[in-house]
Amino acid sequence: MGDNGKLVQIYFGPQHPGAPGNIGYKLWLDGERVVRAEVIPGFLHRGFEKMMENRTWEMNITLSYRFCVEDPDPLEIAYALAVEDLFGAEIPENAKYIRMIQAEFSRIASHMFWAHFIGGSTGLRTPAYWAVSAREEILKWFGWYAGHRIYHNISVPGGVRYTLPEGFIERTLRVLDFVEKTVRDVEKALIRNSVFKARTVGMGKLSTKEALELGVTGPVLRATGMPYDIRKARPYLNYDKVDFEVPTGSAGDSYDRCRVRFQEIYQSIKIIKESLSKLDPSEPFRIKLPIVAPAGEGIARVETARGEYVIHIVSTRGRQPYRVRLRSASMPLLTTVVNYIIENEEITIADFPVLLASLDPCAPDLDR
């Protein structure tokens, strides 16, 4: 407490290197300890749900993924899946495997971006640099395959936009080898580092029951020991036909969350390798869907790098959707989880950025 027994109020973000993007917190401090936090969202709000009502089914693809820059592809796939659900279309096998490769690459890139972020927060800049270089290889691969580094537009309702370019499998395997090697280095330098352990072990603990109560999905839930993953629980695409595990932690603290993310990267690499072997260039990659959609509803549930994402599309027979509703996986992480941990644990102002980084929220995902 201050001299007169009052709590000190400070603003953390949006202009702060430790803030997860353009989002702010108002913190109440008792000495060094954070006793209350209130999120200040809205700096990234563009109104996607409204904008998507004014665009045709094809045009909406370019909007469908822009509210999580770090991990756009699962969102793009979810939109395509929901529209296919609305049309009642069955897409070619090739398209399913390409989408899985796309989604898993995006997951690796997102987790690598997170490693750079938590490396900066804990002062371990060297592994952060390596992580960015691994991500860079993936972005280059996307640039080569789709023509864009960050936003890709690969999945469209009805399949995927591109067939296999020459040397696709070889190049993908080469990228994977580089990424796997770098990730092992980053893992060694980051999460086995004693400084890193001192700042994360035992911090920000959540039990499975509490995590579910707060609305958490994704790696943060899995770190508490619950192997819950939409890819396993309700498989979409061909996730039921490939072999992978759902890594879990046990303590549910910041350190476990980091470990789970690294394990997920290795599983993603495994999925990509298996999907690559199942591609058949002689089969089709896309079916054509009509311009006008039937009346009805389309729903898709996918697993993004941050948790479960649900998209709900309502159509009243037309060229445009009537209503689109998106579920943000980052909202619980930025609001209820942070509040819960601060109430139950002693988090100092120096620990606060590390706590946020370990949750890996995506600020535009909350604002949309």
């Binding site: 290197p17 993007g21 700096f43 109104g47 640099y129 936003y151 619950m226 979409y236 579920r327």
Partner: protein, 339 residues
């Protein structure tokens, strides 16, 4: 050019510190710039954590109204000489979000801009080309011209736009008052606990309840194991005179979801809050309140949240709120590509 001037300019053009403010999606390309592989530190560039130590602001992507206000505030704290550059298409024309109600379309409405980096998003090479151009440009310039100024009409413009939004809100509220006597034409049958629609592979079961039973049913579902609260979906039907509401809850042991459907009248949308049953609903209800105008009875803090500072007008997700035409009328002078 005198020798003193040269001595001043040479180090200055080689130590540009950019303010570390990741304002939008373009910022995701900055780690490759600052770190491997492009490594801007060889140009004397550094991300400065405080506005008081920085020389340049690069607008990275779309300008939401709240961000622009924050930027103007921050930019006034920066010491001269200071510059503004605009990255991405959205800062130049509004870009993909040309019809968004929450963004301003051009950065140079508010401040003088030194350079533009087009693209969505620009590659790291584009940014590098800009910084090289800018360094050369700085060396050739007179010392007095070392600043990009905030335009005098910037704040006036923002106030005018916000005034128009408030006027629209008043109009809309009056219109809703008139509509409150219209009879609702909406068929509704309660099916709970049966599903009226089932999707086996996705594990989704849709059921419907009367609005008065929301709290009771959701408590029951939570005790049955549907502990994970996913979302509140709302659909506006002006012709039927109702807003349909879906509460989505999930059972994490089986992956099953139950979509509980209910409705509220459009003119007087009131429903019980469930924030004490599911804590995350506290925030989702606030979002639904500002976007759709549904009032949650018993919610302790029902006020603007995401839209605060972004939008003063009527709830934007309502179907009869035509935000694109409003944006075109106010920001583009009545014609989409009128600029």
């Amino acid at each position: 050019m005198g020798i003193l001037e040269k001595i001043f300019k040479w180090p200055f053009s080689r130590s540009l510190w950019m303010i570390h403010y990741c304002s939008a999606c373009g910022a995701v390309e900055f780690p490759p710039l600052v770190m491997s592989p492009v490594d801007w530190e060889r140009y004397g560039y550094m991300p400065a954590p405080s506005p008081r130590q920085s020389d340049i602001y690069i607008g990275m992507g779309y300008l939401t109204k709240k961000t622009v206000k924050l930027f103007l505030n921050m930019y006034r704290q920066m010491p001269e000489p200071k510059f503004v550059a605009a990255g991405c298409n959205c800062t130049a024309t509004g870009g993909l979000y040309w019809d968004s109600y929450a963004t301003y379309k051009r950065l140079d409405d508010f401040v003088e801009v030194e350079g533009w980096v087009p693209g969505c998003m620009p590659m790291p090479d584009d940014y590098t080309a800009f910084i090289e151009y800018f360094r050369r440009n700085l060396k050739e310039r007179e010392i007095g011209k070392y600043v990009s100024r905030i335009k005098p009409e910037a704040f006036k413009k923002i106030m005018e736009w916000e005034k128009l939004e408030r006027e629209w809100l008043k109009e809309y509220e009056e219109k809703m008052k008139k509509e409150s006597n219209i009879l609702i034409q909406y068929d509704f049958t309660e099916t709970y606990p049966e599903c009226f629609e089932k999707d086996e592979p996705k594990g989704i079961c849709k059921t419907s309840i009367r609005p008065v039973r929301v709290r009771k049913v959701l408590k029951e579902l939570k005790d049955k194991g549907y502990v994970l609260f996913i979302n509140i979906n709302t659909i506006d039907w002006p012709k039927k005179g109702v807003i349909e509401i879906f509460y989505i809850v999930e059972n994490p042991s089986s992956g099953e979801q139950i979509w509980v459907k209910t409705f509220v009248p459009r003119a007087n949308p009131m429903i019980d809050s469930i924030h004490d049953i599911y804590p995350i609903a506290y925030y989702i209800e606030r979002e639904v309140y500002e976007m759709m105008g549904v009032v949650f009875r018993g919610h302790p803090n029902l006020k603007k949240w995401i839209l605060e500072g972004n939008w003063e007008g009527p709830p934007p997700l309502r179907k009869d709120v035509d935000t694109p035409s409003f944006v075109v009328k106010t920001m583009y002078g009545g014609y989409k590509y009128g600029r």
